[in-house]
């Protein structure tokens, strides 16, 4: 094999070639645009080198939207292929690649960064801090995630995409059955992004434990901050397991080790176990912050305080612990003893209890509230019944004996989409709208937003509810086509129509953003929703230092108290504020990580060694660097605050 032939796509199709051209043209347009409008310096100094948690949050948000597009296109292609029996739109290999990348992209490169976007933007504001504990590390986290995601995504035009499913089970993912480099991309792309996520977990746990405003005890933290705290702990315990599993998988593929092989003692089920020991907590890494977001939105738009705060916290902690004891339910059919299955059945069903408590708490929060049906609230109200249906089918799947019927069918596919879409996707879309004015200083158009919500919700029901039925009828997941005699045709057509409606809702969401950038009024107040927690006490858009004076916290809803009960939020005078310096090293180091990863994927060893040395040089540079940050003077603060109308206007 020649050196360059390895970069070719093993199963090319016109779609892929046209995508290549599209990617090339887009990159070219971006470069020309940046040069033409002389924005390179702005991009570098304002964004690529930033360590500001708010800007990092916004970059996460943009990446997540991009990845939502990529994963969504995959989804629509899958549904189009299955819309009619014996369809020839995609061949089996192409279909395998699409469902594999759809899963990875949506979970790791869309849902995770969307959650990270909101955590980054909101948590420091909610606890009254000026930044996270390690701002530089935060930039590294983002750029590692970004480069990992990009590395994974270029697989589709250079060398071929992974095709062994998002779970990448061995021996299928081994060299014997997946000979092309796609699975290398999977192993290394996720590894790089995963290191970034682990660092985020450490960063936010430290931040929340040590940097809360005076008076904010743990039991006075806003619920989203609580969920971020619990999530960080899960990340810290779960992600190292993935790190090890991916190292072992990479070594099996690149260095012919025998971890997951069928010969020389290798054990393929070890991969499945390690993957799900990480993978199940990962589900809660996504859903707990989503619960936290709903717990912010529902009280605001019901004009009531959150019902059952303590039980909300307790149930979240309980879920986080139990999330580590249910992983076997992902493979009930793969040969454990019956008593093992029974134990994991019970632990799985038990998780329904704290989740149910949370559902009732949200309902009781709305009870007798004055509900305003804004876009964020619509998503929250839509979430409750739809998520409950997903939860109930989850309990069905948790029964190990019955699972032999559901396992690997469309029933399962319907179930996990039914929890992830109304759970995570509704939460991030709702919260994205909710926090939009804080991020950008203008509101998103409510009318178009509501259209998008209804398209998404109806599309979701049409797309996934039929799968429960075809699944029970025996339609296996991951099959690329089926014959007419199975009778799956009409229901799959309905699914396709649903997927189309969801695609339209995505277009509408993008259009809302575009429309609002053009037309929304910019004189939006600092607290447009009449909200209850500290992030709304600062200005719109938030100044670099977040709070000119660190707020004094007296209760769970300090800001509400400041507005309506005469609590004095900001005491004392301005003092000079210490802020961290920007740095280009996180970006450069992550670029080197990208090169290193790319070299590993294609086994270009000299380049991998150069990359590794480059990474260590960056770390050494950081060790020797003297960086004391900088101060914002009192005069500057006064100037900024005067522009916004002063710090204490809430009294």
């Amino acid at each position: 094999m020649g050196f360059f032939s390895r970069f070719l796509i093993p199963n090319p199709s016109p779609v892929i070639y046209s995508s290549m051209v599209a990617i090339g043209v887009t990159v070219l347009l971006i470069i020309v645009g940046l040069t033409h409008f002389k924005k390179w310096f702005f991009l570098w100094s304002g964004w690529l080198t930033t360590v500001d948690h708010k800007r990092i949050g916004i970059m996460y948000l943009i990446s997540a939207l991009l990845m939502l597009f990529r994963g969504g296109v995959d989804a629509v292609m899958m549904r189009a292929q299955l819309a009619v029996p014996d369809n020839k739109l995609l061949d089996s290999q192409h279909y395998n690649e699409i469902f594999s990348t759809h899963g990875v992209v949506m979970i790791l490169f869309m849902a995770m960064p969307y959650i990270m976007a909101l955590m980054n933007f909101v948590v420091p504001l909610q606890i009254g801090a000026r930044d996270v504990a390690f701002p530089r590390l935060n930039a590294i986290s983002f750029w590692l995630f970004f480069m990992g995601a990009m590395l994974f995504n270029i697989s589709f035009v250079i060398g071929g995409s992974p095709d062994a499913g998002w779970t990448s089970y061995f021996p299928l993912a081994g060299n014997e059955f997946s000979p092309h480099v796609g699975t290398n991309y999977y192993m290394i792309g996720i590894q790089i992004a995963g290191i970034g996520t682990l660092m985020t977990g450490i960063n936010f746990l430290t931040t929340i434990l040590k940097m809360r405003a005076p008076g904010m005890t743990l039991m006075k933290m806003p619920m989203f901050t609580w969920s971020a705290l619990v999530t960080s702990i899960i990340i810290i315990f779960a992600f190292p397991v993935l790190t090890v599993a991916l190292i072992m998988g990479t070594m099996d593929r690149l260095f012919a080790t025998k971890f997951f092989t069928m010969t020389e003692g290798g054990m393929d089920m070890l991969w499945a176990n390690l993957f799900w020991v990480w993978g199940h907590p990962e589900v809660y890494i996504l859903i707990l912050p989503a619960f936290g977001l709903f717990s912010e939105i529902i009280p605001t738009f019901s004009r009531r305080n959150l019902y059952g705060y303590r039980s909300m916290v307790a149930s979240m902690v309980f879920i986080s612990i139990y999330s580590f004891f249910v992983w076997t339910h992902h493979f009930f059919t793969m040969g454990q003893a019956a008593y093992v299955n029974s134990i994991f059945s019970i632990t799985t069903m038990v998780i329904a209890i704290p989740t149910g408590i949370k559902i009732f708490n949200w309902l009781f929060t709305m009870w007798k509230g004055r509900i305003r049906f804004t876009v964020p609230m619509l998503y929250s109200i839509g979430f409750i019944p739809l998520f409950t249906i997903g939860g109930v089918t989850g309990v069905m799947l948790a029964m190990s004996a019955a699972d032999y019927q559901y396992h690997n069918t469309m029933f399962l596919v319907a179930h996990f989409h039914n929890v992830i879409i109304p759970g995570v996707v509704f939460a991030v879309l709702g919260a994205g709208t909710y926090y939009w004015p804080k991020m950008f200083g203008f509101m998103l158009n409510e009318r178009i937003g509501k259209w998008a919500f209804w398209f998404l919700t109806i599309g979701f029901c049409l797309a996934f509810f039929p799968m429960y039925i075809t699944g029970l009828d025996g339609q296996a997941r991951r099959i690329y086509t089926y014959s007419e005699s199975t009778g799956f045709g009409p229901l799959n057509m309905i699914s396709f129509i649903g997927a189309t409606l969801m695609a339209i809702s995505f277009v509408l969401i993008v259009y809302t953003i575009y429309y609002s950038i053009r037309h929304a009024p910019r004189d939006v107040s600092d607290d447009p929703w009449d909200a209850r927690s500290l992030e709304w006490a600062t200005h719109n858009p938030v100044p670099e230092y977040n709070f000119a004076i660190i707020p004094q916290v007296n209760s769970r809803e300090t800001f509400w108290d400041a507005k309506y009960k005469g609590h004095e939020l900001f005491k004392g005078d301005y003092e000079k504020i210490h802020m961290p310096n920007n740095s280009g090293v996180p970006f450069i180091m992550s670029c080197i990580f990208f090169v290193f990863g790319f070299a590993l994927v294609f086994s270009i060893w000299f380049l991998a060694i150069i990359g590794l040395i480059g990474i260590f040089v960056c770390m050494a540079h950081r060790s020797f660097e003297i960086d004391h940050g900088h101060y914002i003077s009192v005069e500057e603060i006064k100037e900024t605050e005067a522009k916004f109308g002063g710090v204490n206007k809430w009294k």
């Binding site: 977990g201 450490i202 040590k210 190292p240 090890v244 260095f255 092989t261 290798g266 054990m267």
Partner: protein, 198 residues
């Protein structure tokens, strides 16, 4: 930076306190990493395929030497931190240099041990057991190697910049890391070597 003189130097600023807590949390993640390696090792330890078993390749002499070197180094870096608390830069640097030399000795023995295994037909590719053995030991060894560079950089900085809140903070965090590697080694010694030889 505000310096709180009632605290030891490494805890004296807010950022220093954050760094230390953050590093403890990072060590928590490291515990999970090694726990996963150990769990996988216990799963694969008897799956030797056509390759040798642990009892056939393990030798007590180099392993004892490694253990002795690493445990001593962990003690010595403790002395180094004690000297740092007393403000004795020269003693601290001496102890740090000894620590790293002992670490280097450990690494030398480990590499020779690996070469011996290789000549006895136990390579990374031989069986699930040997793959896992080399990966577990190798991950620990890679941590030690990284630590040698890191420690060396810190020695240079303390030498040049003296004991400041920042260098003291780095030295203290490095000592945490080094003690952690020592603890991991105790587990490796017990559950891989001792258990494997019986």
């Amino acid at each position: 930076m505000e310096i709180d003189h009632s605290q030891p130097l490494e805890y004296s600023t807010e950022q220093n306190r954050l760094n230390i807590l953050g590093f403890w949390i990072f060590l928590g993640a490291e515990i999970m990493l090694f726990a996963t390696l150990f769990a996988s090792y216990f799963t694969l330890v008897d799956r030797t395929g056509n390759g040798p078993t642990g009892a056939e390749i393990f030798e007590i002499t180099p392993v004892l030497a490694e253990t002795f070197l690493l445990l001593t180094s962990s003690f010595v870096i403790g002395l180094g931190i004690h000297a740092m608390r007393l403000g004795n830069k020269k003693a601290m640097l001496t102890f740090f240099v000894i620590t790293l030399l002992l670490g280097l000795g450990f690494l030398g023995f480990e590499i020779t041990e690996f070469i011996t295994y290789y000549h006895e037909g136990a390579t990374l590719q031989t069986s699930a057991f040997t793959s896992m053995l080399f990966t577990t030991l190798g991950t620990h060894g890679a941590h030690v190697t990284l630590g040698l560079f890191w420690g060396f950089f810190i020695i240079l900085q303390v030498k040049k910049r003296g004991l400041t809140p920042e260098t003291a903070n780095k030295s203290f965090i490095f000592s945490l890391y080094w003690h952690f590697l020592d603890i991991v080694w105790i587990f490796i010694f017990t559950f891989i070597y001792m258990k494997g030889m019986t």
